[in-house]
């Protein structure tokens, strides 16, 4: 019997049964699949159980008692998707968030996300959730008008799996500015997004520390395929993806820390304020605000402030202000 058919039959058997189904009965129902008394049949059944759990179907073993025989069952309350019992605005949030993430075309666990949106239409009457998921899955499967999925979509999918199963990955990675890619083995810890681009945070076997990798610079990757259900590593206990991801470029450790001040003219949008990160100190000033932050990579702060145009200005330190002037003067000369 084909594996997908066996899994579905097994789920149907256990769902319908009124009481736990013994291993002997299961063997009788699937004589070709779980034949014999040896370890091999049990291992095969255990693998199937694990596959079902990955599909969201938990198969439980119940040790028998006076009333019930020992055996396997699927607890119906544990199987069916419950109603999420969320107010409509929260459901709308989930729906808007999920659809927007899928529409980006690059989101880790995109396939899972599409399935989740499909299911959401059952968990609650979220308007259009399944429509949206259907469109997204079409994009994923390369159907319709959308262009074929780029390499990065594949990397995201492979890495998503490797992270979930804690398997090491061999990367062929081209560092910024480097001509030739280098190879390295990493323990993938997580994926984060910054300014529209995705990064992998991973513990590098040769550097023996957590590094970040820009996904579009990954030339190729290979996930360890041996013993897919056995984790290869445990992430370091004190690792925090959110902390790593929310670190601003000017907080990368390059130079000694120095205090910098930036002036922003009104109107200042919340998004621009937020772009200076949670550690920025903001004070109101006539016609605008002044931001004060500790910086270890001043070049990055300079670039960020310049991108805000003539409504922003570096006040201090003087050296950085001079850099800004020099850079703009050179550009201005070139453009004249």
């Amino acid at each position: 019997m084909q594996k997908d058919q066996r899994l579905l039959d097994l789920a149907a058997l256990l769902l319908k049964a009124a009481e736990p189904v013994s291993w002997r009965e299961i063997q009788e129902q699937f004589p070709e699949d779980y034949a014999g008394t040896g370890e091999a049949a049990i291992r095969k059944f255990e693998r199937d159980k694990a596959d079902l759990l990955e599909l969201g179907i938990p198969v439980r073993y119940v040790a028998g008692d006076e009333d019930l025989p020992a055996g396997y069952l699927i607890d119906k309350d544990e199987f069916y998707l419950p109603d999420l019992k969320l107010p409509p605005e929260d459901l709308a949030l989930l729906y808007v968030a999920g659809s927007a993430a899928l529409a980006q075309g690059t989101f880790p666990y995109a396939r899972d996300l599409a399935h989740a949106l499909n299911k959401l239409s059952f968990a609650a009457s979220a308007p259009g959730a399944s429509e949206s998921a259907a469109q997204a899955t079409r994009r994923l499967s390369g159907e319709g008008e959308a262009p074929p999925a780029p390499e990065i979509v594949r990397s995201l999918e492979e890495l998503s799996k490797a992270i979930a199963h804690k398997k090491w990955v061999d990367l062929e990675y081209r560092k910024a500015g480097a001509r030739e890619p280098t190879e390295r083995r990493v323990n993938p810890y997580g994926l984060y997004q910054k300014a529209g681009a995705w990064y992998l945070a991973a513990w590098c076997h040769s550097k023996r520390k957590v590094l970040t990798f820009h996904l579009s610079r990954i030339v190729s990757l290979r996930v360890n395929s041996s013993q897919p259900r056995t984790p290869d590593f445990e992430p370091e206990k004190d690792f925090s993806l959110a902390e790593l991801a929310s670190r601003e470029a000017w907080e990368f450790e390059i130079l000694a820390p120095q205090r910098c001040r930036v002036r922003l003219d009104s109107p200042v949008s919340n998004e621009v304020l937020a772009s200076f990160g949670p550690r920025a100190k903001v004070s109101e000033e006539e016609g605008g605000v002044v931001i004060e932050i500790t910086v270890t990579n001043p070049a990055a702060l300079l670039r960020h402030v310049l991108s805000l145009g003539d409504a922003a200005e570096i006040l201090a330190p003087k050296a950085l202000r001079d850099d800004a002037r020099a850079m703009l003067a050179e550009l201005s000369e070139r453009l004249a």
Binding site: K3, D4, L7, L8, D9, A12, D51, L55, G56, I57, E78, Y80, L81, P82, L84, L86, P87, D90, A92, L93, L94, V96, A97, A100, Y109, R111, D112, L113, H115, K119, S130, E131, Q135, A136, R138, L140, S141, R154, A164, G177, G190, A195, S216, S240, A242, A245, S246, P267, S269, N270, E271, A274, A299, R303, L306, S307, G309, D310, R325, S332
Partner: protein, 341 residues
């Protein structure tokens, strides 16, 4: 044992034509679990919506009609042991309509897997909003009990961006979208370099080139437009309600491109090419002999100017002429702030 089953009556003789120009599948053969996941949605959906057209059902399942018909064929062979006559799923296609009758086993889809719930939670976390914590908890509760620890762990492994501040523009927009309520925006129009007052029916949010956009119908201009969220200074909900367009339309909107007209070209100096090309939406046009690069992007001149300046002197806008002038003007104005030395 040959259980009695209704034959697949009037199954269309020819399966839906396979798309001829489809690129060869680069991925290895699909995991059998993919089919099962699809079926666990397809069956309850078809039960709930009897007589759905094959085409429509395929669209909802995100597969081709051919794949869907294969799935239905597959379902005909699925039963519940001990395989009595009544234990099979009863699937038939009448005309081009799908009917599924069955014992109650698959009337609802299974719970969220930890990766489904974690992916949705990560998307919700990034978008922010007040209901975020509630939504994430509800997702967690919808994962089988044995897998909740994995959900917790996996949620910590995806970070899709910092959430919006509680009372931010983003938070209010989400609420307005959910409540289908019009909003009054104080919006900085880049093309006129002035703040404008707009009344908008907010339809949806989308992320492009690393920025959030609101897509909605502008009442005065009488057409749907995209608004950069970071240029919205104020957002006030109004009492006025509206009807949202259908989901297919919303889906297209989320794929909008802000650009009108020709793409903007920029020259990037050698030191910044790798960084620039890593940004979404940036295409390489040609490389210079000095390892510099000319790149192209479908964006407005304002976006291009900011992007070029964010590369700190290592980039300039080349064309079209209006975009180059816009860039030069911004450089000049910014320089005057620092005073010429």
């Amino acid at each position: 044992v040959s259980p009695a089953r209704r034959p697949p009556a009037e199954r269309p003789q020819k399966p839906a034509p396979a798309p001829a120009a489809r690129p060869p599948p680069a991925a290895p053969r699909a995991d059998p679990r993919d089919r099962l996941r699809r079926i666990l949605f397809l069956v309850p959906y078809a039960v709930r919506h009897p007589g759905t057209a094959v085409k429509e059902l395929a669209r909802r399942c995100g597969c081709t009609e051919k794949e869907l018909l294969e799935d239905l064929d597959f379902l005909l062979n699925v039963g519940s042991p001990p395989f009595g006559p009544d234990d099979f799923l009863d699937v038939y296609v009448e005309g081009d309509r799908v009917h599924v009758a069955l014992h109650q086993s698959f009337s609802r889809p299974p719970r969220f897997t930890e990766s489904e719930a974690a992916a949705l939670a990560a998307a919700a976390q990034a978008l922010g909003g007040e209901g975020r914590a509630r939504a994430v908890k509800a997702l967690r509760d919808s994962v089988p009990r044995d897998r909740r620890a994995s959900f917790d762990e996996l949620s910590g492994r995806i970070y899709a961006g910092a959430p919006a501040a509680p009372d931010s523009v983003m938070g209010r927009l989400q609420r307005a979208i959910a409540e289908r309520r019009a909003v009054r925006l104080a919006y900085h129009s880049a093309s006129r370099d002035a703040e404008t007052d707009r009344v908008v029916h907010p339809y949806t949010l989308a992320q492009r080139f690393g920025h959030w956009y609101l897509y909605g119908h502008d009442r005065q201009r009488e057409r749907p437009l995209a608004f950069r969220v970071d240029r919205i200074r104020e957002c006030a909900p109004l009492a006025e309600r509206f009807e949202a367009p259908d989901e297919a339309e919303l889906g297209r909107m989320r794929l909008f491109s802000e650009a009108r007209g020709e793409p903007v070209r920029l020259r990037i100096a050698a030191g910044a090419t790798a960084w620039a090309l890593a940004r979404p939406g940036i295409r390489l046009v040609k490389r210079g002999e000095d390892a510099s690069a000319v790149v192209e992007v479908d964006a407005g001149e304002e976006w291009a100017t900011r992007f070029a300046l964010s590369l700190g002197g290592q980039a300039e806008v080349l064309s079209p002429p209006a975009a180059r002038r816009h860039f030069a003007e911004r450089v000049r104005k910014t320089l005057t702030r620092y005073g010429r030395s």
